[in-house]
Amino acid sequence: MSYHRITLSVNGSVEQLDVPSQMTLLQALRDKLALTGTKNGCNAGECGACTVLLNGEPVNSCMTLAVECDGASVVTVEGLAGNGELDPIQDAIIDEGGVQCGFCTPGVLISSRALLDRNPHPTEAEIREALVGNLCRCTGYVRIVEAVKQVASSR
């Protein structure tokens, strides 16, 4: 098994890691950097619980190799809040009751943040399309969509 030394920015801090060829970004975040906010749901690129921003775009970290991320910038759910304040999408999802068991929530927040960064005033159809890769077995999605709408209409 070959090892690779990679340097990447995670939530704004530069990390240098030695990672085996097989290690996924999800494993590196959880096991090497103790960032356990990102969840391992299906481990097959289907459910979106492991979604992180890689150079600003949402990807499934369970299907991304850590070694591919050399030089990249990664944002996880831990990176959304700053200066002691939650991100507006975090406030909104609490406010709307868009969290039940919470397992999909980190991925949902990251996909929503990516959408709002690209398109600050999405339509409901655009919101649903942006969240199509994030499965939630509890909420029925309505309250999640309402939370994104709340942020979209607040600015």
Binding site: T51, N60, M63, L65
Partner: protein, 296 residues
């Protein structure tokens, strides 16, 4: 379980070929990895020694108009095999010349998958209903393949040998990109698919159509459909019933009859019955033809 030992991030096509041909064990090209890594991890693909990642090869990650090497006035749309589905959806060049490909790539997976999955991977995996491949087939794409002997071009369909089996020699050849004819006056394309559930799913049936319109007549047309055989299908007899005709209900009925006679629709346990797929042929044929017709 060790699914692969080594990972090589190629910086150029020669670098990728060198890594592929000199690996001390089985080596495979990997793009976004959304199919291959899963197949390796879940045991559907035998373990390999080396993965050669081609997503950082500059010539394989561009979308551009290139002059034809024989005829400088006839350009081609070049799409590198390492281009992601999201990049295709956002490309003004693809929007101008290959609308069916935008519609197809926008339906693959969800945003997370489209941000990493490559067009080359969609084709090299050789599934008969890969959305990108069906659109490329209707758009008459040519593939470029690099090997230690040099590069060659071939019609897209030549890559297919069976479901999941491509004609590429896995340890000597690399699919580097696609060449598509530029869109001429009164030409247009469209792609549709039916899937269940709406969202992240494999197609029950998909179809792409390219046509050229002169007045009220379809002067030329290409139709691709999947899954309608172990390989992606060009519906050539449906095409010949349409050529030179107006797309009225009589012509459509004749084209549908021709289409149904040249496809081999199967019942698949998790997706749909053959009977339902036959029904969808009519829906998709009308939809894609009409959409391309209105755009042309």
């Amino acid at each position: 379980m060790t699914h692969w030992q080594n990972y090589h991030l190629a910086r150029s096509i020669p670098d990728a070929l060198q890594a592929l041909t000199t690996a001390p064990g089985p080596a495979r090209i990997v793009g976004g990895g959304t199919d291959l890594l899963l197949d390796l991890q879940q045991g559907r693909h035998p373990p390999v020694h080396t993965l050669v990642d081609v997503t950082a090869v500059p010539e394989m990650t561009v979308i551009e108009i290139r002059a034809d090497r024989r005829d400088a006035s006839a350009g081609r749309l070049y799409i590198g095999a390492g281009v992601t589905h999201s990049q295709i959806v956002a490309s003004p060049f693809v929007a101008a010349h290959a609308q069916a490909l935008i519609e197809a790539c926008g339906l693959v997976g969800g945003p997370q998958v489209r941000n990493t999955a490559t067009l080359g991977g969609n084709v090299a995996h050789a599934l008969p209903a890969a959305d990108g491949a069906i659109a490329l087939l209707a758009l008459n794409a040519t593939v470029e393949i690099a090997s230690p002997e040099g590069t060659r071009r071939a019609p897209l369909i030549d890559l297919y040998r069976g479901p999941g089996r491509s004609s590429l020699e896995p340890q000597r050849e690399l699919l580097t990109g696609f060449y598509l004819p530029l869109r001429g006056g009164r030409q247009a394309s469209a792609f549709r698919r039916v899937m269940r559930p709406q969202g992240v799913a494999l197609p029950i049936l998909n179809m792409a159509c390219w046509l050229e319109r002169i007045g009220d007549v379809i002067s030329d047309v290409r139709i691709a459909i999947g899954p309608a055989s172990p390989l992606p299908v060009r519906a050539k007899s449906a095409e010949s019933t349409l050529r030179g005709k107006s797309p009225d209900s009589e012509t459509l009925a004749a084209a549908l009859a021709a289409l149904l006679s040249e496809v081999h629709l199967r019942t698949s346990p998790h997706r749909a019955t053959a009977e339902y797929r036959r029904h969808l042929c009519s829906v998709l044929l009308e939809d894609t033809l009409q959409s391309a017709w209105e755009r042309a």
